[in-house]
Symmetry: C2
Amino acid sequence: MYRTHTCGELRLSDAGKQVTLAGWVQRIRKMGSLNFVDLRDRYGITQLVTDDNGPREVTDILNQLGREYVLQAKGIVAERQSKNSKIPTGDIEIKLSKLTILNPAVTPPFTIEDQTDGGEDLRAKYRYLDLRRNPLKNALMLRHTMALEARKYLDGNNFMEIETPCLIKSTPEGARDFVVPSRMNPGQFYALPQSPQQFKQLLMVAGYDRYFQIVRCFRDEDLRADRQPEFTQIDCEMSFVEREDVLQMFEGLVKHLFKTVLHKDFTAPFLRMPYDEALAHYGSDKPDMRFEMLIHEITKNVQGKGFSVFDSAKYVGAIAVPGCADYSRKQIDELTEWVKRPQVGAKGLIYIKLNTDGSIKSSVDKFYSPEELKNIAEVVEAKENDLILVMCGDKHKTQVALGTTRLEMGNRLGLRDNSIYKPLWVYDFPLLEWDDETQRFYAMHHPFTAPKPEDMDKYYSDDKYGLAEVKANSYDFVLNGTEVGGGSIRIHDSKVQHRMFEILGFTKEQAEYRFGFLMNAFKFGAPPHGGLAFGFDRFCALFGGQDTIRDYIAFPKNNMGRDVMADAPSYIDDVQMKELYITSTAPKQEEK
Amino acid sequence: MYRTHTCGELRLSDAGKQVTLAGWVQRIRKMGSLNFVDLRDRYGITQLVTDDNGPREVTDILNQLGREYVLQAKGIVAERQSKNSKIPTGDIEIKLSKLTILNPAVTPPFTIEDQTDGGEDLRAKYRYLDLRRNPLKNALMLRHTMALEARKYLDGNNFMEIETPCLIKSTPEGARDFVVPSRMNPGQFYALPQSPQQFKQLLMVAGYDRYFQIVRCFRDEDLRADRQPEFTQIDCEMSFVEREDVLQMFEGLVKHLFKTVLHKDFTAPFLRMPYDEALAHYGSDKPDMRFEMLIHEITKNVQGKGFSVFDSAKYVGAIAVPGCADYSRKQIDELTEWVKRPQVGAKGLIYIKLNTDGSIKSSVDKFYSPEELKNIAEVVEAKENDLILVMCGDKHKTQVALGTTRLEMGNRLGLRDNSIYKPLWVYDFPLLEWDDETQRFYAMHHPFTAPKPEDMDKYYSDDKYGLAEVKANSYDFVLNGTEVGGGSIRIHDSKVQHRMFEILGFTKEQAEYRFGFLMNAFKFGAPPHGGLAFGFDRFCALFGGQDTIRDYIAFPKNNMGRDVMADAPSYIDDVQMKELYITSTAPKQEEK
């Protein structure tokens, strides 16, 4: 071993001990005749010291050092003259007797500090240097702890972690698969799993009534910001359960993680909200519960007063933004432009200001009396000094636009504090989504999601509107406005399953071709079952108080799916392609 | 919840309780007026009972049942008349008040019993049914426990589990990569990792001094029996360590697993053996230490007596097979044929029998006096009633053939008991292997393996024979004749690394192209480091006392890399290939 202690370990009580440390040079300083080196490893920083009259070999080596050199340092632990209360080792320093350069280092292209001078691209290219910085180290440490604690909780509840294959069968339904040509089976391809969905359901058929896996999944989608082509799930499934059992079990998991990882005690049950309510009041199926500013429908309150924009709208809704009645004309104009961006999609914005002097000012004063405006303010639960923002149009679209605006105003007002956690279950999602283009229903979750027992009549009816109202026996776990987990009770009854295929417009042959393998397994005694999967990367980022997942993945890819550090993907040679029975149709690669 | 208890939980102390169970029908029996159902779940079997005078609804349902039906059973726990001491629930039964069929089942194609009537192919196709059987359930349970305990031990020793990518850069060195065409980067491919070797070394550069990962790896090789295209490793790496530190740490891991999983205490240090000794005495770099029967060289003892076969041989060696002096002529002939098979590769077999009456009989009596034979017997450490088997030829090949014969005789004599564990470290492997065909050295482990410090002179010499003698700073963990783990101290000094590339015959450009990315990272301060990886599938199988890994993988592939259950790999459609910028050159698929 090159060391007796780590650089985060020594305290005043160790004074007088002969120790050996190893690590990286964080900083070199000279103060009068004293020479200091801050030596860093994963565990912390320890100050090394020698004076100009110290061992000659030590000062000789000191003169050669640069940032990030790898050193071995021997010496005696001593109390510091000027202590540093910011670090746990700040009371001591090591009086050097010997210093050895284990490896020199060229100067890194950016500083290895909590706040670095390196830009994002540079840090991505030298990811192994960026990973030396505390924020990333803490992120990966948090991830390690979360995974371990999740495993401990699930093991303690009789869940078995069972590894499912990565090289699986490609299925045409769903998002795009990554595929892997098979050399031994010419012309055929494996797919990489988008999730272990079918395998975990097979494990339920096989009697493994409590399964989980922290597992890599793959999705070949055009990458939106902060999406990765490979990502990690905490994937879970249980047999002989109803929805309440699943929610209880995984609420327990989340509480365990809060307690063990963040030392936060959640004793009360998590909030629960039906999908319809989430849309009505938050304009989102993943409400951020850290602040109020609820959406209220005011259609009835505003129609019939001669304002044709409202009169012709299917829906009029509003939010009351607290303390913003003093918004200037310029600020309102800016906000109006903002809501009209395609990402928000509103046609316009009406405001009502509840001034502190008791007066009311709105952009529709022409059509509404102060009394009528006050009445609206009451419905919207607005208080003095609030700015009411009103939008109208198609119900769903307007709710979503109001929800997006609500989040933006929450941001502007600093109401979305990342150190506050507001967990929420959203349930009673629609089972089916009608697609006007293809004139058919699609499964909102996946075709194995069970309808709610009380909606069975509608499920078997042939009424399109009735079908659209059928609720799924599904649930999402939402944390601070982010969907972190989702799942459902699955269909285990073959009659219900065949009806689902019928609704989705599959012929028997199509259903057989796409799902026959799983359906066949179900014939041999499938238990009632359901499950859930957490997006682990996102879960970690939220626990770390961050919005972006990239720091919580050791070696992430960029928006083009590239690992810029390793320069992957890359070209492969023709011999290899020939062995795999494929040729490339891409334009010829340029010579470098 | 569909149940109040599992089928493995109830005891006599629960008698009188009203309970609800759920599970699968294992067996249905009628004895007089009594009807019995054995209900099975993951936790055990519980007997349900009703008599013909019981609730009519119950008997009605009983009459519909078949094997593997999924039931919910309500009733009262009662003491059994005739107890079954073989199962933990054997003292009680459930007097049924209600029985519900949760799902019917078609009759499975083989029996769900510890000893099934299903053949291997049938069980592979219906893997989800095979997984219901106890041997597979126990195998996966053991795997779950081993993974969790490995994580606990490593976490307890400050290791961080860090996930490395699955979509990485293809490297031309080493075994064949599985590749994944990139849709967003036309003509380019990702590779699936054969191991996270480069990433874990980067993590050392990044300062994560104790890394591990239980990780899926991929190798597109022609599959020998019991090899899988995807497999799992416990992958580990440490910084600021020497070989001894690595061995201590992972010996600790193995001991922890023995203790927590198998309840076996290994207090003494594991045996250690240099590679040369392993070959000399066991004819293998992974000796099975469960039995003796050591190989002894007898070249000097047999030459110069006029037996030209021995006189012209470079090496003559022998083993003493205990208690087999009474082998018949027929048995000796069979054994001679056996050693001449290409898998063993011996040219022939000489025997010496040490009969119980004190006489000696050999196939070379013509050339050797009884005294001389006794002298050989002494060298081979043979005792009365032993059968000495002698082979000769090229030293290495003969040692290996003797080693293979040693294992075979161990099998025949029942000396390889799978419930006995003999762990062993093998070390001091050669660093380089000379290949006559390409007339160059290859790295025996990989080109980042450090030479032993004391062999540095030879390492820098230009003498081919000197180079061939350089030992690697590497080690294998061997359990009962199987290599379960392997690793090395890595090169962290760029001078040593460049010398390695020189020895392997790479130009600077070639080295740069193949390994430049990692070498570049090393410039920024690489710590001394080393590590090890365990083959997790094999480790589990050995702990389970089995020779085959297939039962320890939930959904394995066959020797053609096929998942016969899901029928993967499979053909994909042209649209998908077009999106990926590839076409297939395989003969057209047949219409099904």
